[in-house]
Symmetry: C2
Subunit: 450 residues, 2 copies
């Protein structure tokens, strides 16, 4: 037979079993948190009609899209989970109850240039709250709590959720009479951390033709820093000059005020006026999340408030707020900076059963009893030397081996070997269920170590 060399495409993550177990632990944690906050799971197709997916049109993503025909159909693979959500909500408007809170964890596709840490197929884990016509500010105040719980439960402690409000920025540029340049100014200010105040000022004056005085005002505004109380106090100096700015300030104050009630410590939260979130899409609160010890990787969870989810499908006003975690990239980064725990249980079973006799029905019955008790059990029935069987158990990282030889059969018992300590005991099946259940309880390990 002619043989083809098996390979996986570059830019596509495919993990070995032990790593996949850690990835699954990360995904499960995110799913659990999203569920706790009352988001309902959705599952939309990976393939959509190209005209539907590209209704919003243009943009940088369009070049990256996997688009192809099948028969007469012009098709495309989804490149995010937001456009499919917009389609879903516009289509099913009459059947949904608003606010509509959904989470979706699924693969999306972007044919980016292949490079380390960039993926062409990757998971996004999104939540969105969609209002019908309007949406209370409390929904924006709740989002930092979701982010905080996700990362805390994953095992990360050293992270900061940075929050800003786009209305503050819009109002401020209005005040300076620079509204028409606000997008360009925001792009320049976005680089503050990377290139410093001096070079941003140069861009503002030289490239954008802003007066030195206004450039100074912009940089003064952007350099407001400190505790929530300090930032809000400094911003009060701007109150009363522009209605949009005032509204942004009220919203930001509300978000900060509810932090405590939503269980977010101030240490994991910062009001940061430099956050704008590139897209023109956002209109209110915006979020970024950075790892304190790894600012170089950028935001690991971002999002914000928008006014118009599905304007290209419907004339209904559907405002919302949402966040997205680039799960595949996050996993790659955590692995890369050495933050993935080696202690997450990754064995495919809790007990490996090793029959040493011709009749394996006792072994099969033990497997059945363990599974009925919720214990993951595997029967290893291959004809191998005992040493090879133990080597297999060790390679899989199985916590317990249950050995059934002639002696054990004669006594109606099983030898349970704790693979960690090496100790071995002769027990009944019932005793094994109790022993293993007790050992497994509280064995949960967070996927991120610090």
């Amino acid at each position: 037979m002619e043989r083809i060399k098996p390979h996986t495409l570059s830019g596509f993550m495919e993990l070995l079993p032990a790593r996949q177990a850690v990835m699954d632990a990360v995904t499960d944690t995110i799913r659990q948190v999203y569920s706790l906050y009352g988001f309902t799971p959705l599952d939309t197709p990976v393939i959509e009609a190209a005209d539907v997916l590209l209704a919003k049109g243009g943009g940088e993503t369009e070049k990256q899209i996997y688009r192809f025909t099948k028969g007469d159909s012009d098709l495309a693979l989804r490149f995010d989970l937001t456009v499919p959500l917009a389609k879903y909500v516009a289509m099913n408007y009459a059947d949904l109850s608003f606010p509509f809170r959904r989470y979706q964890i699924g693969k999306v596709y972007r044919g980016e240039r292949a490079q380390r840490g960039r993926f062409r197929e990757f998971y996004q884990a999104d939540i969105d709250v969609i209002g019908d016509g309007e949406l209370d500010i409390i929904n924006e105040a709740e989002i930092p709590s979701v982010i905080y719980q996700v990362f805390t439960r994953l095992g990360l402690t050293r992270f900061v959720i940075r929050v800003n409000n786009r209305k503050l920025l819009t109002g401020f540029y209005d005040l300076l009479g620079l509204s028409d340049k606000s997008a360009a100014i925001m792009r320049a200010v976005d680089k503050l951390e990377k290139i410093g105040a001096e070079r941003v000022e140069a861009i503002l004056t030289d490239d954008l033709g802003i007066s030195k005085e206004d450039a100074g005002r912009i940089l003064d505004f952007m350099s407001i820093k400190g505790s929530n109380r300090e930032v809000l106090a400094a911003l009060e100096a701007y109150r009363g000059k522009d209605p949009v700015l005032d509204r942004g300030l009220d919203e930001l104050r509300t978000v900060a005020e509810y932090l405590g009630a939503f269980g977010v410590p101030e240490a994991n939260f910062a009001l940061d006026l430099t956050i704008a979130r590139g897209l023109d899409y956002y209109t209110g609160t915006v979020y970024e999340t950075v790892m304190t010890d790894h600012p170089e990787v950028g935001s690991i969870c971002s999002g914000g408030r928008y006014d118009d989810l599905a304007g290209y499908y419907t004339d209904r006003k559907l405002p919302g707020v949402g966040i997205s975690i680039g799960l595949t990239r996050l996993f790659f980064i955590l692995d890369d900076v050495g933050l993935l725990s080696e202690d997450v249980p990754s064995a495919p079973c809790d007990v490996l059963i090793l029959p040493q006799t011709g009749d394996r029905s006792g072994a099969a019955a033990l497997a059945t009893a363990l599974r009925a008790a919720g214990i993951r059990a595997q029967l290893y029935a291959e004809s191998k030397k005992f040493k090879a069987k133990m080597a297999y158990a060790n390679r899989l990282g199985v916590p317990f081996a249950a050995i059934i030889g002639e002696d054990e059969l004669a006594q109606g018992k099983v030898s349970l070997k704790d693979m960690g300590t090496g100790s071995q005991e002769l027990l009944t099946a019932e005793e094994i269920v109790g022993r293993v259940s007790a050992a497994l309880a509280g064995r949960a390990v967070k996927p991120i170590k610090e």
Copy 2:
């Protein structure tokens, strides 16, 4: 703005939230059972290089494949989970421990002609046990137990796992000197149930040129029916005439013998010599699963033993045994025949919190306390009349509403309304956690009703 009509492609399942919750319950149950049997989760890409995916070549599926180019790459969407498994095992052979037991639940793609109940994007839920060179028969004997647990835990009781062994058939045709016609004979025999013995006999004699005597022998053999004991006894009459038939009989006997130890009642199991599983791929035990009251839908879980998983990638002999559930089709069928339970909890939260005052920090704190206790909570903070809020709670099917008005705030308590009974009590946050936790415990409902 120009508006595009939002739509989802035909042949792609996209569910409303309440139905999605049931689908997720089905998927979770399958995942849990697969885990209990010591299968490790894998996640392979949806897109593969076309030469890799089509290495096996030809076949009916090839026309259905979604194949396209991106840049210089010839790509294709996976059409099953078996070829990606073969690729994975051949590629990662040195890093895997054998027997290698994996499960994968993922979407696959086939551009079939659109018709009711046929999907172009659908989930498969597969398990396979892969041996290195050899694989013990116990692995084949264990599979009915996995199938039994999956469907029992889903809530189905009226189903039968039909089992045969391909060696029995191969050996029997050898015996008649009809080996060269065995594939065609099996295809004819496969229709026994649909078209009856007379018409199958006509195909055998008229189309395949088999003597009337041999056709009678074939139909006699195929009509062996009864309890496991009766079928095996009848088959013993054929022993000693062909070594392959003898081996098949031994294997079938072993599979039947271990049923009890693996916890499979005889009522859910039948030895059935007419099962062949179309593909040439299978070489030993083969499985089909039929719903007793709905034979018309065919097999809802099939598979078998094969000798050569990855011959087109590697010269290593990798025998295995596996089964596959076409999850999307199964869900469609269960819905179609009215077997999906309406009682599966599908609300996005367990407690909907309704603040009736301007300050919602008490409501936020209650949400935080509930979530910390593992209770799914949602804050409904929109400015609506109380009646509209209750209508929202009812539409979502939320089991509890927690109302915080001025009176409640003054007493530091919350009114908990049981949406099912309509009864309402004034309680502390702590009491609410206790009350709701108790109500939710044991609320699990199987997704299939009968």
